[in-house]
Symmetry: C2
Subunit: 115 residues, 2 copies
DNA sequence: CGTCAACATCGACGGCCGTCGATCTCCGGT
DNA sequence: ACCGGAGATCGACGGCCGTCGATGTTGACG
């Protein structure tokens, strides 16, 4: 599978503005950024974070997004593969939670004030 | 043109993890993120930032990227339209510079520690 | 054990986007 | 005025991706 590797744990140390990053690192980082460069997935992250208990199942997300259930599942899979969400199956439901620090590590790569 | 609006000045106040962001804001933010969700453009930002004086012309960027000159110009235009780079034409050369705070404002939207 | 519901997977379709070569525009130098 | 070079624009092509309906899988419940 051409799944994007979870960069959340490995991209925490590339200031981006310091030295010209290599083609390999650029591809990795771009893959992670592409995971959140989508309106539906941004809203999913936001919905999960704002939901009660910091977790939400698919049934909680389909309606507010206005997309079909397969599409929502697809986006959630992308976010899980990117290391931004965790999936926990309890009974028939699948609960998704934000990975702590994942978004922050992405943000830290972009920040320029880290001189 | 379907140019992405510069979000650098307007997206500085959406924590993303606080309240579920609307479809409109999600589209705006996704457009900005898509601008940097590309290996070539990430390297361009990095190259410009690391270049002497914080500015670089196209001729400085074509070779290190290994892409054609039209492609580099295209990527630079995307970054300028996204409000991440400024373009200043001096003589025959076009010099590009990082917009101060642009990347940081994107990062601030992603950060979750702003509670 | 049969049924229903939640979710994932599949296959297909359409549009967007990265890339290129060719060309156009504009400025400097001679 | 002419030429050369820097860079932007154009048109085209190929691949990736978001979306859907249909279907498969799995667990709860009677």
């Amino acid at each position: 599978m051409t799944t994007t590797l979870p960069v959340a744990t490995g991209a925490c140390c590339a200031p981006l503005v310091r030295a010209p990053l290599g083609a390999e690192d650029a591809t990795r980082l771009a893959g992670t950024l592409r995971a959140i460069a989508d309106p539906a997935r941004l809203r999913l992250l936001s919905l999960v974070a704002a939901h009660e208990g910091g977790e939400a199942c698919v049934c909680d997300l389909v309606e507010p997004l206005g997309l079909s259930q397969p599409t929502v599942s697809h986006h959630l899979k992308v976010l899980v593969d990117a290391g931004l969400l965790t999936r926990e199956k309890r009974g028939v439901w699948a609960y998704f939670t934000l990975v702590p620090g994942a978004l922050d590590s992405i943000a830290s790569v972009l920040v320029t004030t880290g001189s």
